[in-house]
Amino acid sequence: MALVRMTSPHAKGNNHTQTIMLWVLGATLPGILAMTWFFGFGTLINICFASLVALAVESLILWIRKRPISFYLRDGSALVTAWLLALALPPYAPWWLTLVATAFAIVFGKQLYGGLGQNPFNPAMLGYAVVLISFPVEMTSWPAWRGIEALMPNVQATLGLFEGLSRIFLPATQAIDGWTLATPLDVVKTNASLTMTELQASKPVFGSFAGHGWEWISLAYLAGGIALLYKRIYTWHAPVGMLGALAIMSLLFWNGSGSGSNGSPLFHLLSGASMLGAFFIVTDPVSGATSKQGRLIFGAGVGILVYCIRAWGGYPDAVAFAVLLMNLAAPTIDYYSTPRTYGHRKAKRGMGKTD
């Protein structure tokens, strides 16, 4: 019998990095299922490919940095980055797009800063922002969803596995027309002449309360996020801060239902990456703020920025940019939101700090 010599602590909590990462991966499953139902196998293929790239690149950099490879691969953080990135990218993004985004996220977003726990920016969002700036055409080619044929006969949804594989791995043979559509956020942003009712009647992209398909995908992310909240993987502060700020901003600047409308609060909450961002991106414990109050401020900042960029900025969706900008602000937020320590009457914050 081999006796394993171990030092304390011997108790095993449920807050292992690996456990947390696996829970986050598991919580994306409803969203993955919803995306696969509406957009076909693209998301699944992207997730597999991005995971392979992330693990390969992570081991390469760990090898160059002379760090134990299997120890760091087992914490699952590379997989989480890869999955979140694959969920954020368009389902039939060409393979090199996923490759560039994932490799950039792991190498420049995480490992160059010293690996997990040292990165000032959310790696997945960094990779996303880089490819969004570099390849705007590919990044805005969102596929049509299941059931589009009934509404628009000249557009086809990509549902077959082999069709999806060839779209991703043989992008040169694929025309971009006939299977892509503008996203709901795009349609509302570029609309200048129609009232909301007319817009919803003329564009099949709208569903019952937000984008067709998008609303269910967002709700699936919400379900996964609530599961993580229930398991206490993170606290409610950051997601509530972000969604609350987004709701308040879209309520304040709703601008009615005329042609100048920016869309209803419900539309903003259930469109684009709002839910994915709120429950999987702004809750990143490394690049976000630390204290509870800090997380609330951090989330609210992301929500306000998302709305500002969506309504008045140059991009239809903005979770990546908003999160990166707030990542920059996170140390300052921490500085001014340090909680009171036990035994002290007042929290030492900001200029009152003595260290």
């Binding site: 090199w96 560039v100 420049f108 880089v130 490819v131 700036i133 570099s134 390849f135 705007p136 040169a172």
Partner: protein, 237 residues
Amino acid sequence: MATKTLSQITADGLWHNNPGLVQLLGLCPLLGVSSSVVNALGLGIATMLVLTGSNLAVSLIRSAVTDAVRLPTFVMIIAALTTCIELLMQAFTYELYQILGIFIPLIVTNCVILGRADAFASKNAVLPAVVDGFMMSLGFGLVLVVLGGLRELIGHGTLFAGMDLLLGPMAESWKIVVFPNYKDVLFVILPPGAFLFMGLLIALKNVIDAKVKQRAEARLTRPAAGSKRVRVTGTIS
């Protein structure tokens, strides 16, 4: 102040005290115009002419200028030289002049030039000052061209595109398409790419320096010949 030999000045300018990689001076033009080889080369040559000329002029008048008015004097000299270069580029390489735009007049504010004038030329004789100016600007230009080459290669998939803007019609056929059917990577061509590649170049220089230092130390502390410990059992591998 110990005087340096000309070879020391050369090594400083090109490597040990490279304005781009070590002093991190003149970052604005370095990051702003290094999107292709031709832009980088154009600005590198312009900076070289101004820096060599300004070091020469500053060194010549160094005993006539008092400390109190030295900086305005240097700036006047540099501004005059920059205006000359600007007019020359307007006359001979008009298209490149239009592409480089504001960065040509901005050579006046390039910290490398004022820095070398104040730190070196105003304290040294004419020959070392001129050599220093030339080598510093050569080091700066080399970094600029390497950065421009990297960004053009990865951003556009070509090398030496549009060299005819600088070198006349004979350079028109110099363009090398390294990757045909390449998708332009906008991120690399835009300013963030410049910061990223600049950081990588600095890291590369530090890695090389560390390796060189390691080797030099290993050579100095070579273990004494012969073993001090006598081994009586086992095999010696």
